[in-house]
């Protein structure tokens, strides 16, 4: 299949070309522009599913840019061109990114319809998607830096979109400073690797890695930069500031970009450096940061009254669960026990669940702001009388994120708790306590916002397309919660196997 060979590139090229076409089409007709964007995103989604199916069936797929054949990776004995490499883990993350982006875009159509700058908004949103897809699919360190920058620059523009609000500009400025410093560290690390090995390809570097002092410095630089981007404690402080000010559909994509950063972090630690460096130490660092993120995230969320900031702190705690699962797995890597594999699977499973649960909660909060104009809980109340469907959607989202059975968050957290308990019971205890406090927080939000006496009478109706997008997310949450083994067996386990077998990733290129 000739088209299938080019799908890895098309997953990046379609959003990129659509981004540049958007302002032109917007000048012609806004309906044409929206139709074009949705068509492009649905095509990308279908191609992503096709590629994922192919990778699960036939193994890793590589794409060499500029080569006579896409699979011609090492024409002179080592890789010299830009190579995209897709295994079950990349394909899984790419699917999450495209799906969340599609839902977010359709939600945007009504949510942002009041704006006169939608051409610019959609262009930046599509560039952000391009950056995330590039980060996910690249097999090359320098391009990883380039896509890291694309994500940062487009995100900063989107965060500052409510330009009339001074706080939005301040949040964008903070994000830009933080991202630039992170990007500098990535570039420095890439430079050090290139100086040592004359290589930029991840698989080739993984094959040549020496565990020298410089390599250790590179690991520290990359680890810090991607932890910063993921929003782990103690470099989490930008998150509530940014999530509190950016438009809600942008926040949803920023959450996804944080999860992509976590994926890159694990690709680097498991695939590139996993077989040579002291993974036990790295694992403990990540697990401890995970526990700190859980504890600080939930305790800070408890004292918030701004809904967006509150969920922003909850997002920090949720990142902590992923770090805890994958960090605990990394402790025993590469000779993993069954519990180690389960911990990693639980962490990967939680990436998907986080993307769904946090997206649903943020979209519900966005809808609350859309219909009431308020984001402070003290000014809300009794919304369930006017909007029972919105209350139900929030209830599903809060139950899922708090890890209540039978929703999806419970299944992944159970896998993390049971396996992490074998490494260190204390870590599990803090994790469970974090979930309990998380539930307490969202019970408070639900009671204050949706129950009680209505505080406002001028409540607008929720547009059907926005409700439909939240409904799709809720449906996924319920289906994954009721049939978790279907997703674990068919998506999570292959992704976990791809991550813990770096030799296959290396063999596909060399």
């Amino acid at each position: 299949m000739i088209l299938l060979e080019h799908v890895p590139l098309l997953l990046i090229a379609i959003p990129l070309l659509t981004a540049f076409a958007t302002p032109v089409l917007g000048k012609v007709n806004s309906f044409l522009r929206n139709f074009w964007i949705i068509t492009a995103l649905i095509s990308t989604e279908l191609m992503g599913i096709w590629l994922g199916h192919d990778v699960l069936k036939n193994g890793i797929r590589v794409y060499t840019l500029g080569a006579k054949l896409p699979g011609l990776t090492s024409p002179v004995g080592f890789p010299i061109r830009i190579i995209l490499e897709v295994d079950a883990m990349n394909a899984f993350i790419a699917m999450i990114v495209i799906s969340i982006a599609l839902i977010s875009f359709i939600y945007c159509m009504r949510f942002m319809e009041w704006s006169r700058n939608l051409d610019k908004f959609y262009t930046l949103l599509l560039l952000l998607l391009t950056g995330m897809m590039g980060l996910t699919l690249t097999g090359d360190f320098f391009n990883m830096f380039v896509f890291f920058e694309i994500v940062s620059i487009s995100s900063a523009g989107l965060i500052a979109f409510y330009v009339h609000r001074g706080e939005a500009l301040e949040a964008a400025f903070k994000y830009m400073v933080i991202s630039s410093i992170g990007a500098l560290m990535v570039l420095f690390a890439v430079g050090l690797l290139y100086a040592q090995y004359n290589l930029l390809n991840m698989a080739a570097i993984a094959d040549s890695i020496q565990n020298s002092f410089v390599d250790k410095v590179v690991v520290a630089l990359l680890l810090s930069a991607f932890l910063l981007k993921a929003g782990s404690v103690p470099v989490h402080m930008w998150k509530p500031d940014v999530y509190g000010e950016a438009p809600v559909p942008v926040v949803v994509l920023l959450i996804t970009s944080s999860l992509v950063s976590l994926f890159i972090l694990f690709r680097i630690t498991f695939t590139v450096f996993g077989l040579i460096i002291d993974t036990a130490l790295l694992g403990w660092i990540l697990a401890v940061l995970g526990i700190l993120s859980i504890f600080l995230g939930v305790t800070m969320a408890l004292i918030q009254s701004n809904l967006k900031r509150l969920i922003g702190y909850s997002a920090i705690a949720e990142i902590g669960y992923v770090l805890l699962g994958l960090g605990s797995g990394l402790i025993g890597f590469p000779s993993l026990s069954e519990f180690g594999v389960k911990a990693i699977s639980g962490g990967i499973f939680h990436i998907m669940n986080d993307a769904l649960d946090l997206s649903l909660l943020f979209l519900v909060v966005g809808t609350i702001i859309h219909i009431t104009g308020k984001r402070d809980m003290n000014q809300l109340g009794g919304l369930a009388r006017h909007q029972p469907s919105l209350a139900l959607l929030f209830l599903i989202g809060m139950s899922a994120i708090s890890g209540l059975p039978p929703f999806n968050g419970f299944a992944s957290k159970l896998m993390i708790y049971e396996s992490v308990y074998r490494f260190n019971p204390f870590l599990t205890i803090v994790g469970v306590l974090g979930s309990i406090v998380m539930l307490a927080i969202f019970v408070k939000v639900f009671v204050v916002t949706f129950l009680g006496i209505p505080r406002r009478k001028d409540i607008k109706e929720v547009p059907e397309s926005m409700l439909a997008m939240m409904g799709i997310l809720a449906l996924f949450i319920i289906v994954i919660g009721l049939f978790p083994n279907l997703f674990v067996d068919n998506l999570i386990t292959p992704a976990c196997q791809a991550l813990i077998h770096p030799e296959k990733y290396v063999e596909a290129v060399l």
Partner: protein
């Protein structure tokens, strides 16, 4: 094909949980339907507030779980103060994290 999720130590069967939950919901409904029929709107008493007169207004979101946040007053005082909102501090935390990771990885 089994619908149970193997978790490493045990298993998780969401459908069995759902069945149990629905049975409990049915039992709760039966018990509720056996209750006082005349109970309805307008006959509720004042909320019990530890024997004190319930305040009419002035209770806000922040007051919920006040016991928890009050018990952790010392912790909150320090942690909230760390969240200055100043970007220089954010960068300082990043430098500190990077330095700690660097020391741990290179020296241990």
């Amino acid at each position: 094909m089994s619908l149970m999720l193997i978790t490493g130590v045990g298993f998780w069967d969401p459908l069995a949980f759902l069945a149990g939950f629905l049975i409990l919901l049915l039992i709760s409904y039966i018990i509720r339907s056996m209750g006082e029929e005349s109970y309805g709107k307008g006959i509720q008493l004042e909320a019990f507030f530890s024997g004190d007169i319930p305040p009419g207004k002035g209770i806000h979101v922040g007051n919920l779980y006040w016991g928890f946040s009050d018990a952790l007053r010392g912790y909150y005082k320090k942690v909230v103060a760390l969240h200055t909102g100043i970007v220089n501090d954010y960068v300082a935390w990043f430098v500190a994290l990077m330095a700690i990771i660097l020391i741990l990885i290179t020296l241990i």
